[in-house]
Amino acid sequence: MRENTGFTVVFDEDVIQSAICGDHASFEKIYNQYYRSSLSLAFRITGNAALAQDITQESFFNIFKNIQKYKGEGSFSGWVRRIICNQSITLLTKNSKMLTDQDDLIFNLESKDLFETDWCDAKIDLVKVMKILSQESRAVLVLHEVEGFTHKEIGKLFNKSESFSKSVLSRAYVLLKDSFVAIDYLNINKSIQEKS
């Protein structure tokens, strides 16, 4: 089940063309239709409400400033969505340490035990556990697993290789799994102690 983001709404060609010509009424239609969905997208990627608002505002400035660069290749909503993702990654990476391509090699991509079980226990708060991830890891996880971006596209967004995205995603999953296993273990101990 996925949230209806509003990006599925398609505008008439007239609205897009008028916006390209600088028509503010068309800007308003685009803004009102996509603003909330853009905020949700930026929030999913960053996990930070204030940052998501900054990203969305800056993205819409860019969208209206560069709207003539939209050449009709692919959907307009896809173009808007990509700008939001780009802006999110730009702001996220601005002040944080990034993995280098060389560091990608450190992580073992050949492991085979990540999905032996369905370790994502519904009783444990996944949103809280996700806080263990770095902002980059969260962004890669959300872009790949929720937004449907490919490793190649994510690598491009981060100005990195495809293997960077693969490595960060695997590492994010390993961290989530370890946290779930640890919390589960502690919960079992707690309930046994309570019973005894």
């Binding site: 009102n32 909330r36 505002q57 996944l126 949103v127 502690l186």
Partner: protein
């Protein structure tokens, strides 16, 4: 040859046909899809409630931005950029080289530290599990009372709560390592009391 985790995360067409014909990989892939679905569901349910910034307000910000000539592109106009580049070229090259080499060393060591910490934590969890199992084996043998036993059990409960809090609040690895080690010590001390009538079982 079964698929690895990375292939299960983004299978190609060929890998997908392998999944459909291999029970082991299909089972793992089902688990992977279930986890992905939960992630989707949870993130959709936890959308933040944002206040809509009205078009009028946004439009006025947009107007200010344009009229004050402080847009990103204007601030970085080609002319200014060229002048800046000329002026600071040599200083920038020297500074960049210094920063790049410095950061590379720093980044590599910090990434290695993160990986080391994960390994340390995983080992500590295993060691804790092993000790508790040993403790359970000892259960039923001597049952001498020890005055510290109650306090030690209380301490263990307290550590478990702290650990759980750390994981849920994404605490740092150093604190986790400290607590897992502390937990290990308390279990050893509990074992030394030879009294485990209320000992935890895994």
């Amino acid at each position: 040859m079964h698929l690895n985790d990375s292939q299960l995360l983004a299978p190609s067409d060929i890998e997908m046909s392998h999944i459909l014909g291999c029970d082991e990989c299909e089972n793992k892939f089902d688990n992977r899809v279930n986890i992905q679905n939960k992630l989707n569901l949870v993130l959709a349910e936890n959308s933040h409630k944002f206040e809509q910034v009205s078009w009028l307000k946004f439009n006025s910000e947009l107007g200010k931005k344009n009229s004050n000539n402080v847009s990103y592109i204007n601030m970085q106009s080609k002319k200014e950029s060229r002048e800046m580049k000329k002026r600071y070229l040599f200083v920038a090259i020297a500074a960049s080289l210094f920063i790049v080499f410095g950061l590379q060393i720093n980044n590599r060591s910090s990434q290695r530290n993160v990986l080391n910490n994960e390994q340390v934590i995983a080992n500590l969890i295993k060691e804790n599990q092993r000790l508790v199992s040993e403790l359970n084996v000892l259960e039923g043998k001597e049952n001498n009372r020890h005055e510290n036993k109650f306090l030690l059990e209380m301490e263990l409960t307290h550590i478990d709560i702290e650990l759980q809090k750390l994981y849920l609040d994404s605490g740092n690895d150093d604190d986790k390592i400290k607590l897992w080690k502390h937990r290990q010590e308390v279990i050893k001390r509990l074992m030394a009391t030879n009294d485990h009538s209320h000992v935890i079982r895994i």
